[in-house]
């Protein structure tokens, strides 16, 4: 449905070389899927989205939607944004203050090439407005809507044109936490019902995980990993991804070799030797970082019931924080401190011995960049 290939977008800067805001961005979105660009502030998400929209002119690459090339540096094609038929919801909503709710939503239909009768427009607009639960506000001035209502109006305006592609730039970021949660469900429902191919930009990992079929994590203008929310969360390919999404323990180590019994790699770390899951190919003596989520570090007061091929060790409770839904333990294993997130019923006092168990499936070994390059 949407194919972005080798997209590069630059901004000229007053002095010095241009800012390379998007570099070699490549991804594909199948029809009807919800695709999220996720990354820290300034990583180029908005730039990528605006390049797809046609609001920025890339310097290289290709963008194809439904077989129609909307941009190609090679074939020198650039379709202006007003001929692309993509719906877009802006971060500021960009609701036109001089129009009513109805007029805002009707605008895309009024300006399109194929003319529609007033009656047709009215029907269409009202249908969309009721889909976002705004039909009773149709004649109200657009500025007299609450933040959440404005957001829904912006969405309605994007939907009314029956776009080929729906582009959303942090549409929930201006809402308060409660409303954000509600709108998140609304958005998901509407997208799934209409089966619209959607590109969503956010820096909120929770939002990305909750909404998306697929996520592309970006950093410094590049996509660093594309995958389903589960893949990204459970099997990050780089330290950056592991760190950006959720909290995690990083344990530096060296690959010892393949464990013949389980077929997993064995890694020597300050927290003891452990079996790991490898996303990329490893080799003996390679320097790696093992990432394990705190909730995947199981703790026991008695010696852990050993399962086959599970990593077990023990340490001493150094700190603990009670957070209601769970307890965070900081466990000293030799010199190393491991964070574990446990059920609140765990009450081991500080200073006591505690047993630890980690499923190798959840211990993700990420090759250090320098040694990975040497091994390759």
């Amino acid at each position: 449905m949407l194919t972005v290939k080798g997209l590069n977008t630059e901004y000229p800067s007053q002095k010095g070389p241009p800012v390379k805001a998007a570099q070699d961005v490549t991804f594909e979105v199948p029809a009807g899927k919800f695709f999220t660009l996720l990354g820290p502030s300034g990583c180029g998400k908005t730039t990528t989205l605006r390049s797809i929209a046609g609001l920025e002119r890339p310097v290289g690459g290709e963008i194809v939607v439904n077989g129609r090339t909307v941009y190609s540096s090679e074939k020198k094609i650039f379709i202006p944004p007003n001929q692309r038929n993509f719906g877009m919801v802006f971060q500021s909503y960009a609701i036109w203050p001089h129009m009513t709710v109805f007029a805002n939503a009707a605008f895309p239909l009024e300006v399109r090439k194929t003319k529609m009768t007033a009656q047709e427009i009215r029907e269409k607009v009202m249908r969309v407005l009721s889909a976002v639960a705004l039909e009773q506000y149709a004649d109200r001035e657009a500025t007299k809507l609450s933040g959440g209502q404005q957001q829904r109006l912006a969405l309605a305006r994007a939907l009314v044109m029956e776009p080929e592609l729906l582009l959303l730039d942090e549409p929930l970021s201006n809402l308060d936490a409660k409303l954000r949660d509600r709108m998140r469900f609304e958005l998901k429902r509407i997208q799934r019902e209409l089966g619209l191919t959607t590109i969503y930009v956010t820096h909120d990992q929770g939002e990305a995980l909750a909404l998306s079929h697929e996520i592309a994590v970006m950093n410094e203008g590049r996509i660093v990993q594309v995958g389903t929310p589960r893949e990204i969360y459970e099997h990050p390919r780089t330290k950056f991804v592991a760190d950006f999404i959720g909290t995690t323990n990083f344990i530096d180590g060296t690959v010892l070799g393949m464990d013949t019994a389980t077929g997993r790699w064995n890694v020597r770390t300050p927290a003891g030797d452990m079996l790991v899951h490898a996303v990329q190919t490893l080799a003996p003596n390679m320097a790696v970082t093992v990432s394990i989520r705190p909730e995947d570090v199981e703790v026991f007061e008695e010696a852990a019931p050993a399962g086959s091929g599970l990593n077990t060790t023990s340490g001493m409770v150094d700190q603990k924080v009670f957070l209601g839904d769970f307890v965070d333990f900081q466990i000293k294993i030799g010199e190393f401190t491991l964070l574990s997130r446990a059920h609140p019923s765990m009450r081991t006092p500080i200073g006591d011995k505690i047993h630890v168990r980690m499923n190798p499936e959840k211990c993700v070994a990420i090759p250090d960049i320098s040694s990975a390059r040497n091994a390759a």
């Binding site: 094609i77 692309r84 971060q91």
Partner: protein, 581 residues
Amino acid sequence: MASVENISGNLQTGDQPVVKADPKWAIMGGVVSIVAWLALVPLVFLIYQSFRTPGTARKPAIWTLGNYFEAYSSPDTLLLFANSVQFAAGTAILALVVGTALAWMTERTNTPLKPLFYALSIIPLIIPGILFVVSWIFLASPKIGLINLALQNLLGTDKVYVDIYSMAGMIWVDGLHYAPIAFLLMTAAFRAMDPSLEESAMMSGASMWGIFRRITLKLAFPAVAASFLILFVRSIESFEVPALLGLPVGIQVFTSAIYDAIHSYPSNIGLAAAYAITLLVITMGGIYFQSRITSQGGKYSTVTGKGFRPRTIDLGRWKYLTAGIFLVYALMVVILPFLVLLWSSLQKFYSVPSMEALRNVSLAAYVTIINYPSVGTAVWNSFILSIGSATTVMVLTAVVCWIVLRTKIRGRFLLDQLASIPLVLPGLVMGLAIMVCYLTIGGGIYGTIWILFIAYVTRFLPYGMRYNTTSMVQLHKELEESAAMSGASWFTSFWRIVLPLLKPGLLAGWIYIVIVSVRELSSSILLYSPGTEVVSIVIWEMWQNGQYVELSAFGVMLIATLFVFVMTAQWIGKRFGVKET
């Protein structure tokens, strides 16, 4: 399908083909050429003319440095320069002191009558300069001035107490005339100054005087300096005051010297041009330093977007004094000038107020005016010109601003500079430049009303730029981008989104330009010909002919009309304007 364009008009990727047919490029190209023509071409002709001898039928014009030689070799020029600087500096200081005091009183104290005063502050803007000067002649001339007569009656002497025909008189009248502008500039400065900066100094233990000296003055310095330069440039460009008050007693400044050189016989346009270039250099310097100060003042700018809690000083009993100052100011700037015009308009022949004169009150002058041959034409011309030039300027500059602020076209900042050039051209210099330009290239424009139209549009371009820039920077870019995403063409989005959202700013700028067009005298005086008079010219001619009574009647009608116009326009703006967002 491979049509190429970009909402942001990104032209630097020159390897991509550009579709010429897009009307957007035609509109933008047209606007840019018009602005460039208006701003640059007359200036070039002016410079050219200053290096030419006057051409006659027998002796064609040749290149020369003689004009500059004549202008600078004479010792009179030194006097001219000294007079001009003295006049302009004096005017600027007087206006600034009055304006700052008034601004401080309205912004930072609890003076009574504040709201009333604020409403009143707009009225001086609608009194044309020439009427203001004439009314002060009625008030303070040595022979017929009411102030002198009143004092003489009271004290039983025949001493002349005030003489408006002097350098001090010129500074007094022009300074009062520019005080409302100083007031507006300083009000803006006080509003941008966060009182919490002063409060935090107070909390650090500084004394009142220490705060004023070390915080308030320092913070206000850029605004004061910039306002002074603006006022200086405005007063060195003034024409009405030097012409009506200075020329009769031989006090010449650059503007009156230019006028004299053109109206002497044979007229010496080359010499006028040489003077004009000198004046231009001075105003350019003033504007240059003013923009330097303003841009450096960026670090002082305390506009945070948060509304300040206005802190007003409780003046106690002193507030009656400040209220008194308001009243005196209103008396000097609005009430007395208007009343004296009204009085003289009700007489058959000009005479000072007395019981006897009161019995002779008549409306004869108004009847004369209505039947006066050139008045009808002049009113019609002024009407057409002001509406036409205000509309043209606002639409032209809306497009220019859009290009400057919204596209990435190279050199767009030059366009901004270009449209601001007329700011440094004194009205008289602009009139001269346009006259020389269209006399030289011909085309039949000289002598028609079109030349006045061109002059007004050029002169008021910078005002249009200012109004449009202020409102367009507040317009979020995404409002237009969402129109593009909705499928709207550039033209549709400009017409249906940009212009309606700019409406309040457009309307305010339009009203302002209509008013200043009606008041305009210094360019028109070189460009009008029989049949293309405007109202300010008719007043000028009546003054020259000594028709004081008719002039007064006409002036009263003009002020009343402008007043009604401003009130109506503001009412319409409130009623139908875009609601605040």
